[in-house]
Symmetry: C2
Subunit: 336 residues, 2 copies
């Protein structure tokens, strides 16, 4: 089988089509939705599950944040986290401790509590695997946002910068190599992109406008372009984005020129993508900026076409883009 997530077709055929309707599940699992919304008595809860591979303070921490982001895009606060940790036999006690400390640190940052899990040393994994599971509650009682309600005519807003997570990963994994090209200060600035990996501050900044935000999504694999694409598929609309309006941080741009990758397709957890009523788009952007979060209107959702306008030229987007990260990391490894 091909490495990576199951294709949309397989996901729908093998599993989604076989799930029976349950009226307590208000937002059932669906391609492009990172969480489900459940009604339990008078309360709504939002749930999400995502794995991370690799053991370190960073991967424990990241497993909390990626799951917290899946909750946050539904305008919900992450509250309770569970994690299943599977370590290979070669793992050390220190690595386990570091990973768990990362989980505790991540939980503090997003404001949730670790409520359970399972930790095991097993020969079934070659690298540590962290399966995270987050439960959240609406930030505003009774309200939530999905990734599938973008409407034709909605403005597309993005925050922070395309490829921020990838920029951080490249400069962490190949610290010395990048420092030899761009200097140590550059590397340090890129590593600080880690602090932008949560979309919680972004979502909290726009709560006053929740009624005008039709959909939200976090740009993970496939980068900004992948995120916009997934949101458009889930919402059954097209999109037009303008390359010149897209936020690309200086460090990411320099890396992308040197390493020849497309920053729009670089993994970008922390970049919030919103579909908003166009009459409120400017207000939402200024609210984000007031809270210190870079943001911009980068295009609109349209009826059919999916395209990027670059130098006045239309570039069609026909499928979910492959992320640039693995190619870049491989290139950097082979140059060693």
């Amino acid at each position: 089988m091909r490495l990576g997530k199951l294709s949309r077709e397989d996901l729908e055929r093998l599993i989604l089509s076989k799930i029976e309707r349950d009226y307590s599940v208000i937002l059932p699992p669906k391609y492009g939705e990172d969480g489900a919304v459940i009604k339990q008595g008078e309360e709504l809860i939002i749930v999400a599950a995502d794995p991370i591979t690799g053991a370190s303070r960073f991967s424990g921490w990241l497993s909390v944040h990626v799951n917290a982001n899946d909750i946050a895009v539904h305008a919900a606060q992450p509250k309770w986290f569970l994690s299943i940790l599977l370590f290979p036999q070669k793992t050390t006690q220190d690595l386990i401790e570091e990973t768990m400390d990362g989980i505790i640190e991540g939980c503090k940052e997003v404001g949730c509590t670790l409520v359970g899990g399972h930790t095991e040393i097993t020969d079934r994994v070659t690298e540590a695997v962290i399966a995270g599971f987050m439960i959240g509650v609406p930030m505003i009682k009774g309200k939530f946002v999905t990734s599938s309600d973008a409407k034709v005519g909605d403005a597309i807003i993005m925050t922070k910068g395309a490829g921020i997570e990838g920029t951080f990963i490249i400069c962490s994994d190949f610290e010395e190599k990048i420092a030899r090209i761009f200097g140590h200060d550059f590397v340090k600035r890129c590593q600080k992109f880690r602090e932008m990996i949560s979309v919680l501050p972004d979502v909290r900044s726009v709560l006053d406008y929740l009624d005008y935000i039709h959909a939200m999504h976090d740009a993970t694999e496939g980068g900004l372009l992948g995120g916009v694409y997934e949101l458009s598929i889930a919402s059954n609309v097209g999109f037009r984005i303008y390359y010149d309006d897209i936020l690309i941080r200086e460090e990411t741009r320099m890396l992308s020129e040197h390493l020849k990758f497309n920053p729009l397709k670089l993994i970008s957890s922390g970049t919030l993508i919103m579909a908003v009523d166009k009459n409120f788009a400017d207000d939402i952007v200024s609210n984000l900026r007031k809270n210190g979060i870079d943001s911009a209107i980068i295009g609109e959702f349209v009826k059919d076409e999916r395209e990027v306008i670059i130098n006045g030229r239309r570039e069609k987007v026909e499928e979910s883009p492959e992320d640039e990260l693995w190619r870049v990391l491989n290139k950097l490894s082979s140059k060693e």
Copy 2:
């Protein structure tokens, strides 16, 4: 590192001691507790997480049931399931489909709905890994049972038989070999033990007595003895159980004599262990039997000692027993 679950000491030192108090978490994670109880608004929810390795209809199905059992022992109904499935590259499409069908089948049996997850082909695992997460709600509104409230003087009740899951696994994995010894009918009877793997029917049968049930636990790894031991540690009490009163099904007894293992230490999901007010123990047992579930009073919780009375002799239990399953399966493999 040694294969298996993290030791109690490591679990407490590395993670449990670092979790901050959260007043919404009524039953926090703790050694011996398989789930946590959370208060969200006016509602209680119960959450649990457990992994299974291996890909097949059986492992998908089992991942639902082991998580459902973790919820059921809190006197709660499993409602919503999420699963992270990681398959190695060698996996086939058919194996993925079979695993997912098992999940759907398991969900139907326990009465829960699949609400999310993540499926990926990855080179980080050598065998399929299924990380399951279950959310449940109290069977009786506002009420739940823990694994840590057994009291000195409580009667110990067990259901179905020691080692039922192990008996099923042995006769499924080594069908031909066991049939050559005991015949095909014997193997078929053992394989039907699969139908006893859920403790949900057991718990549903005793709901009228919930106020007199102080603790419940499902006998998984370490078997019946491991389950009683864990419950006693979590509750900070000792126990005395009488070998002659322990339910051991004829098939399990025959296998144990032939393969030389202790049926009390054989993995036994589906065997419910209860600590109950001794004045109601007989009523609870007869209610279980009325519902077609074998059960027996096998001893009592005491102040300090942990022991099995066997032929009038006391056998001390000093530590959590190692499960017999791996030794038995290895023995059967090497005889091939």
